[in-house]
Symmetry: C2
Subunit: 195 residues, 2 copies
């Protein structure tokens, strides 16, 4: 079966519409999708950036906010800018990584909808616990697994892997043959390639 990886960062605006679309796009093409949460911070830091490029370069930021709002509008999904931006995404990423399969995908979509659909703070443990519960996942157990040393180390390894395979932004799709595609705009093309 054709496979692809969906690499996403919870602080990434364009990963929000991508996360809502990617499952159906993969299914239409018969592509088996692995959700891979990671952090862009280490990749940005290696480029000398200590903040989101959308904050460092205000003209790009202004364009991005308008463009994401337009993209969500065209999809018919709500969009609310969270403050501050970017949201600290470490705990959400650890939680997603500690879950498997459909639970990971479900929880990840819930995080994006809370963050960019309702503007909620995704570093808030209680908010994340309520999202876990909505997904039918035991919050206490998931938080404990998320914050285990093994899971923390795994997330670090995932970030290193992302840099190694040439990921420069989120969302990215990596096709089964290693081809990397970057951007919410490229989901269809990437999954066609994977198929």
């Amino acid at each position: 079966m054709a496979t692809a990886e969906f690499w996403y960062e919870f602080a990434s605006t364009y990963s929000y519409p991508a996360a809502l679309r990617v499952g159906a796009l993969a299914e239409e093409r018969g592509v088996s999708l692995v959700w891979r949460p990671f952090l862009l911070g280490p990749i940005f830091a290696s480029q000398g950036w200590r903040d989101s490029p959308f904050n460092l370069y205000p003209a790009k930021g202004r364009y991005m906010w308008r463009d994401v709002a337009r993209t969500c509008d065209a999809m018919g999904v709500p969009f609310k800018r969270p403050e501050p931006f970017p949201q600290p995404s470490l705990l959400a990423a650890r939680l997603a990584l500690a879950l498997q399969g459909e639970e990971r995908a479900d929880f990840s979509r819930q995080v994006y909808m809370a963050e960019f659909g309702r503007g909620l703070p995704i570093a808030d443990r209680a908010m994340l616990a309520s999202l876990l519960a909505e997904c039918g996942i035991d919050p206490a157990a998931a938080l404990e697994r998320a914050e285990s040393d093994a899971n923390k180390a795994l997330l670090k390894a995932e970030c290193a892997r992302a840099a190694e395979i040439g990921i420069v932004g989120a969302p990215s799709i990596v096709a089964g043959d290693g081809e990397v595609f970057w951007g919410n705009d490229r989901l269809g093309q990437a999954l066609d390639w994977a198929a």
Copy 2:
């Protein structure tokens, strides 16, 4: 009639496939298209960049070269990386701006095909003169108009205008109502909006 502006920079890799596609996409939608050559250098400089971000951030550069090659391959057009990159695009931009209507569009496509289809140096006067001649344009007269003080000042004003309306990269489409769309990926969406 619906209108849109196609803002392009001759040194921009993604402007190459865009320049080859945009005319037909606009025509399909009944959108009247104005070609607006400009320079990204002043916009990059205002962000503190003295070189292309694809050179400043090598991981982004590696991704871009692979992605552009893949894009050209899918379109069935040749792709050859020019050296050095970015090519000095000032003279080509002045020439394009000194031409009008279809002559501007024809010459611009010829420049892109020479630069990224055949890897030719677009700062070379003789090469540009031969492209002008291929378009049925008198090279000497066009070069004289291109290098007039009025045309030089006009190009500066175009670059200032690009920054003012929020253009952050090339290619960009500006719809008749002022909406800005950035990227070769966005031509269809932008022209749908304009239509």
